[in-house]
């Protein structure tokens, strides 16, 4: 008979959960409000979600001080892992989200903003990302990943236009496949090391110096495939241009930043010990992926006629850059990676926001895409300031 296990509460240090719980509570609050009194103006929901995000941010900041004092904290039967990587990742995610939300206050009516659920799903998604980032347990990563992706699929679909559904479905199916790959990869790792926590996996593998290299490589391939999808590296990037083109400019901007940073953090965790294990094959494989991503994405960006698609391809190539940083794996490169990504976040959000500002409700006849270049060529004449800012972001 299993003796009842008594666990002291503070050993669980629940506090590590606070940053994740806040958005969930927020989402629930929004849902309840909508239940009680439907038809409220969307500005309420925007403000609410902003409020919750601010609280989340506050908790993260004091976590940062905490972290700076006594290093990494393990929470909750060491499922939660709050270390430098996690905190920075979460900070970026929350910051980017805070930037995104006010954008939905525009006067132009959008279908998705009429839904309060939009904001709830949005907060759930942020919680999903935060969970993903703050753990090194494969299960929680997987669940967090799926939670945020599902929320994201719906956010895209909510845009309520034929093409947005099509893109959402594409994104969904490829996401499902990627989830399959992830689980298969995790399974093999589990088979090899008998554990599903990354630090233990790395310990075990290091201990027997990757004796059966074959398995490790297969596991890594599958994991790489799944993250390839999330980070839109070349062979797995097919969904990016369509999804970006179709979703509203702000959402596209958001999508090009936050899910990627979460995926980066997890990828860094996973591949960190592998890179140091100087397994030559991994080096070459990552190397090929990164080079392919950067060059092909940029070349395709060159031939695009639609600004948003072009920006999509540019975000793919940026992801390639960052993947290169992971490939090097030195601490300097990691900090450089974050710095790079923050800069990229701002410039990308800015660029997409610019698209957002002069978005057109009804497509002008003969326009094959939402934002063809021709529309922008006149910009310099009409609104020079907007053009200048856009130029700045593009630089």
């Amino acid at each position: 008979m299993l003796e009842p296990v008594n666990i002291s509460l503070e050993s669980l240090n629940l506090s590590t959960l606070t940053p994740m719980l806040i958005p969930i509570i927020g989402a629930l609050v929004i849902l309840c409000i909508d239940l009680i009194k439907g038809g409220l103006n969307k500005s309420l929901y925007v403000m609410l979600s902003l409020l919750f995000l601010l609280m989340d941010f506050g908790s993260l900041v004091d976590f940062a001080q905490l972290f700076s004092q006594n290093g990494t904290m393990m929470g909750f039967f060491d499922v939660m892992l709050i270390d430098g990587l996690a905190i920075i990742g979460q900070l970026i995610i929350v910051l980017a989200s805070m930037l995104f939300i006010p954008l939905s206050l525009t006067s132009k009516r959008f279908h998705e903003y009429a839904y309060p659920e939009f904001y709830a799903l949005f907060l759930f998604m942020i919680a999903g990302f935060q969970f993903m980032v703050a753990t090194d347990n494969l299960i929680l990563i997987f669940v967090g990943l799926e939670l945020s992706s599902l929320a994201l699929y719906t956010l895209i679909a909510l845009h309520n236009r034929n093409k947005s559904f099509e893109a959402a479905i594409k994104y969904f199916t490829m996401g499902a496949l990627a989830a399959g790959f992830f689980s298969f990869g995790a399974m093999i790792l589990y088979a090899l090391t008998g554990s599903i926590e990354i630090n233990q996996i790395s310990a075990v593998l290091a201990a027997d110096e990757y004796s059966n290299i074959g398995f490790v490589l297969v596991a890594v391939t599958f994991l790489l495939a799944s993250f390839g999808f999330k980070l839109s590296l070349i062979p797995f990037h097919a969904w990016t241009p369509d999804v970006y083109e179709v979703s509203s400019a702000a959402l596209a901007g958001y999508m090009s930043v936050v899910p990627k940073i979460a995926a980066f953090v997890v990828a860094m965790r996973l591949f960190e010990f592998l890179v140091h294990s100087n397994v030559v094959w991994l080096e070459t494989m990552l190397y090929i992926l990164v080079v392919l991503t950067m060059t092909l994405a940029n070349i395709w960006a060159l031939v695009q006629s639609d600004v948003k698609r072009m920006l999509a391809y540019s975000s793919i190539s940026h992801a390639g850059f960052v993947m290169a940083a992971i490939l090097i794996g030195t601490t300097q490169s990691n900090s450089a990676l974050f710095l790079y990504w923050v800069l990229f976040a701002f410039s990308n959000l800015g660029a997409f926001a610019m698209l957002w500002v002069n978005r057109q409700k009804v497509l002008v006849a003969g326009q094959d895409s939402d934002h063809p270049f021709e529309k922008f060529s006149g910009l310099v004449r009409t609104i020079p300031t907007a053009a200048a800012i856009m130029g700045l972001f593009m630089l």
Partner: protein, 624 residues
Amino acid sequence: MEMYLYIALFAPFVGSLFAALFSASPKTLIAGIVPSALLFVSFLSSLVLLIHAMDGNTVHVEMMTWMAAGDLYIPYGFLVDQVSATMMMVVTIVSTIVHIYSIGYMDHDKSFNRFFAWLSAFVFSMMILVMSDNFAGLFIGWEGVGLCSWALIGFWYHKESATWAANEAFIMNRIADLGMLIGIFLLYWSTGSLQYDTVFAQIGSVEIAVVTTIGIFLFIGAMGKSAQFPLHTWLADAMEGPTPVSALIHAATMVTAGVYLVVRANPIYDLIPDVGYFIACLGAFVAMFAASMALVNRDMKRIIAYSTLSQLGYMFVAAGLGAYWVALFHLMAHAFFKALLFLGAGNVMHAMNDELDPFKMGGLRHTMKGTFIMMTLASVALAGIFPLAGFFSKDLILEVSFIEHHYILYTMLLLTAGMTAFYSFRLVALIFHGEERYKLFGFHPHEAYKYMLIAMSPLALLAVIAGAFKMTYFEMVTKVLPMTEYHIHNPTVYWIMTIGTQLFVIACILYAYRKYEVAKEDKKMEENIGYKILWNQYYIPHLYDEYVAKPYQELSRIFWKDIDMKVVDATVDMVANVFYKTGEKTRGMQNGNLSSMLQWMVVGLVVMLALAAVYSIATSLVAG
């Protein structure tokens, strides 16, 4: 003494600035008088300097540093020794006269002031050239003179031919200047400085091969400026400019700069006698060549230009053979009577309102009494008849060539002397003697202004008495130049030679008179080949034009159109297109179909798996 030097140097400069102030406004007389007066002042101060130099001492002054980089140090230094004093004398005398003359000549030309500005600027740069104490200063004068000649030849800029001639002159001079510059560089790197004194001191230590190259390059510079054989066409075309310009520049000063350079650099040329001999041969050839062309030419000013060319040939023969003082003496004498000849021609041109073909004139001796006397006097001096200056200087050169046992040169020079006499008197005969052909063309000649004739008189005087100064001139100059005595040992040979030449020259004059007394153009003579060759100046200008100017234009057009536009530009754009093309091609991969997307994912996976398998097998083999 320094004060005189500064006056002599800067007087023309002040004159030119003064005239330049009025350059835009219409003709104002003072703009002519002030520069001439200032030039006269400069003439006086150079006279004083000459006397000062006569008793052997030189004046050396250094104004300020011009260029000082690393161990290169070039100051604005000016040196007045015997050689430069004589040159200054020649330049100032002739230019004062020409200034006064041109007041009259240009009085009804609308850009009267601009003319004077450029003329005095020319004299100023000539003075720098003559008085500078280092090669760089010489080069400043050299190019300055080139610039002013360009401006003056192209003075009537609305005439297309004038501007073309000006450009041609300038470019040809530039080619020579390049040679000169290379010579100066070589000089600097071998002797460490460009000052005359240091250079001539150390030139001995430099090995012969380098000295010869320096000599050759400096001579190329001289050749361009004094229009020797390959670069001579610009002189004939330079006649486009107003006559006083030709008188001053293309008779007395600029063209003699080349001779001055060779004379000034005599220590260098002493070390390399064979280069000297080459210069002499070239000089003789040019003399013969130019004289032959002058025989048939129908343009009055061109005939005189060719005669200058042949006289220059003479001077180079003398300089080449080492008789530098003889060359300088001939230079001085020649400057006087050639300037006189040009000014006379100017008068005639004015009378015939710019008609140049002597065949259309004739019998002007009655109407233009003064000019007739002066021109005959100058021609006689040119021919080298006994009492006048020509005899003393030109025959001296004949003697030099005779003594140095260069008999071929002697005969050539003798022949040219004959030809000179023939064409100069052909000119005089055609213009002044015979029946007044000009009446057919409705000219009504009138004598030039009184003061112009008075201005020309000193030249006539000098042309006559210059010979007398030979002895005093000789002692003065040989203080600097090498003392070389020339007199034939046995007097009989000497006498036969001198009288022989005299008789030969007089015979030519009489033949010219008889032939051109009655100026009937005999068609027959013009047909024969010889005439045609000479007439087209041996087709050399045609040759230059055809094989130098045109291909240059063609080549540059080709360079521009084909190479620059197509080749270089295309490569750059091609690089950009490469990206664009690859983008287009690979775009196909990105069709919207979902299943193909999924397939791409699986393909990615399979490729990685394959690599993994290969790798693992490899390691296991390695390990195993």
